[in-house]
Amino acid sequence: MPKDNGIGASPKRREDVRFLTGRGRYVDDIKLQNQCFAVFARSQVAHGIIKSIDTSEAEGMPGVLAVFTGEDFTEVGGNPAGWLIHSRDGEPMKEPKRPVLAHGKVRHVGDAYAAVIAETYEQAVEAAEAIDADIDEQDAIVDMAAALANSDNLVHDEIETNQCFDWGWIEDNRAATDEAIKNAPHVTTLELINNRLIPNAMEPRASTADYNPGTGHYTLYTTSQNPHLTRLLISAFVMGIPENKLTIIAPDVGGGFGSKIFHYGEEALVLAASKKLGRPVRWTASRWESFLTDAHGRDHRTTIELATDKEGNFLAFRTSTLANVGAYLSNFSTVTPTILHGTVIAGNYTVPLTYVNVKAVFTNTAPVDAYRGAGRPEATFSVERVIDKCARELGIDPIEIRRKNFIKKEQFPFLTAAGLEYDSGDYHALMDKLEEMADFDGFEARKAESAKRGLLRGLGINTYVEACGLAPSNLAGILGSRVGLYESATVRVNATGNISVMTGSHSHGQGHETVFPQIVADMLGMSADDIDIVHGDTSKIPFGMGTYGSRSMAVGGSAIVRATEKIIEKATKIAAHMMEAGDGDIEFNDGVFSVVGTDKTVTFPEVAFKAYIPHDYPIDKLEPGLEETAFYDPGNFTYPSGAYACEVEIDPDTGKVTICSFSAADDVGNVINPMIVEGQIQGGLGQGIGQALVENCVYDENGQLLSGSYMDYTMPRADDMPFFNVDQSCLTPCTHNPLGAKGCGEAGAIGSPPTVINAVVDALSHLGVTHVDMPASPARVWAAIQAAK
């Protein structure tokens, strides 16, 4: 039995009290003395040459303190891509500069070309409207295929192409994969679209900068999932502010889902403005700005082929994808459609050959980057949809065809055709569990019952495996990362025995303040109530790579374990001195040090006290104090996996899809807090079902965003969702981190879209429907039914 608040327990979340009483402190809640407001002037056209920007009227308006344009930032650097990807021919990707404010050209609707700072928000809005920009509109580049075909009209003239890279994975397997597909007894081909999404964290982005002219120190409060990474980008690449003169604070953050990993130009602008004015400068996005300028997600066009023998044994997967990167390279935009996508294309299967080709394309749309799952949902959707189609073509049960090709439990560690070594998993056990949860045997009866009500019922099955817990830094480096991907933690035992843990992970909904203390409490035999977590402030934490890619527990939690181990090691020596014993004779159990074979004991708080009041202390061998830091760099990715099932009902008259049930068996490795893991899975399912059924980002041919508000972009609401039947009992621990944890944040969003679409197609397959693109909206499903008639 877990302790009330140790590993395996589900204590109530301590962060909830402040959120439930209105005492959260999000960036826009912070009001600094003498603050002024920034508002941006944003392009209304998708593509245009900036002829001139006349700011004179705006400058003379009431309350206006300063106006900035792209001219003010020509001396500073650009916002870089974090990963360097090479094309198949060995050429590095094209990296056009991404300036703080548009300069020379505007490249998407919403691209900021000027900013006004004024005493009040309203004054800044009015002055921004008075900026007179003469912009010569150009034809917008929106469609990816057209962008590649047309070299006369370029998003970035200086790179002479709209193609960022043409990437192959694994290039050495290309010929063999082609050959296998050519000679295969059966090949299933599917063309599909992974629909473009807008992340829509409920808290819009916000940044407030506070420069102190007396010290030359900047403080930036910003909505970030990784404040140290943002500091690194601003210091090393964009503005050159020394890291020791820049503090970044990401306080309570209202959801991220990837969109708040990245550094955005607004952060640089408010820093520059605060320096110029010597006053705090505050900016908060309106929701329309979030729609236009937060990095979007997905947006792949893919052709996937699956070669099999007649019995349905997989011989090869081959994919060809166009991936939209939008108008500029956002920080993770180049790794998302490549490494995070191509390396998991073998899925849960022993398939001997895979080959992935991705062409990344610049368009006059908002930048596209990592969004919950990042690359892995795209891979899973392609693989699992084509498997379902193949099973139907071969007349094999969709569960059976998957089981037949699963990597078996005893085959782990398993090196896949796509080049990753999965450390552990048991996909058959997950499928067994799913069969039990989802009552497949009762499906036909339920289908008949639905039919009586005039409804078409479908059952969708899906499995997934993902690579997360990024990453071994050396491997990431080989693959093109420009940063390391470890995590840091400092465990500070205070003199009175309570503890502060500084972590480089950042919580924006994940419950770190509750779950990390559970680990330390277990290790030190204390109550978690005496342990606090400090996160989101670069001045308090050694360093950090932040929270994304389901890495907080696997990497951040492991760093906390390592730092706590160092604490125990030092405390053991202090205890040995206190009890006049050798270090090797000391045992530590449940918060008490004892000398083996005697009844001598000292408690952990007594040792802590001694460390800070070292009157009788081995000062020749040990420093006073009890504080340790660890940087943990994982040995491999982690590989969570799962098996999902979904039943839908479709009204053939309207095309409306209703989810009747959803079951998810996930292997997330060891679970520290079951309540929080379940919540993460449920949230991921909600987002994945949103992608599958309702969400869609649409630009028209002029590059105007048609889905630019909650009236046009459908968010999943409470009445779109079922209750979820989730299970995490089929666990295989991660073999290479001290917690055995794999990660759970993205799983639901990766596994659910193909599950839902497989169910929709199952319901319609008797009509001859073989695929429905996401979102499976009533209009689209109705049209598919009509077309099949």
Binding site: H508, G679, Q682, D719
Partner: protein
């Protein structure tokens, strides 16, 4: 600028506002009650939900001046007198009905109104009632569970 007076969480308050100032802006910027959140600009997310004269209202759909003389309650006024969490708040904590917390004040204010008018709502009724409140984190599962639990407890 005009003067406006109202009662907020049981206290009389007065402020100077522009005619165009929204109630949600007045609460956040003038009264520093930042628990009322702003999640959109089209009155569709519900993060700004407060009670005005006992009714749940999206604070961004109302001008501060329209609340002249009104009795306003915000998330900061929802705890018990001794500071402990009220029944609905406690149910959200117990059932993990929140993650990032941004939609949460609006959810609690909406749930409070629902349960006042319908002490035993069905799952469907709860889901329909919340269709004006968006949560991006939870998939709604635990929000519905929290409200069901609060309903059971309130009887």
């Amino acid at each position: 600028m005009s003067s406006v007076s109202m009662t907020v969480n049981g206290k009389s308050v007065t402020g100077e506002v522009e005619d165009r100032t929204l109630l949600s802006t007045f609460l956040r910027e003038d009264l520093h009650l930042t628990g009322t959140h702003i999640g959109c600009d089209t009155s569709q997310c519900g993060a700004c939900t407060v009670h005005v004269n006992g009714k749940a209202v999206k604070g961004c759909t109302m001008l501060a001046l329209e609340a002249e003389g009104a009795d306003v309650r915000t998330i900061e006024g929802m705890a018990n007198d001794d500071g402990s969490l009220g029944v609905i708040q406690a149910a959200f904590q117990e059932h993990h009905g929140l993650q990032c917390g941004f939609c949460t004040p609006g959810m609690v204010m909406a749930a409070d109104e629902l349960l006042k008018n319908n002490s035993n709502p069905s799952e469907t009724e709860i889901r329909k009632y919340l269709s004006g409140n968006i949560c991006r984190c939870t998939g709604y599962h635990n929000i519905i569970k929290s409200i069901q639990a609060a309903a059971a407890q309130l009887g």
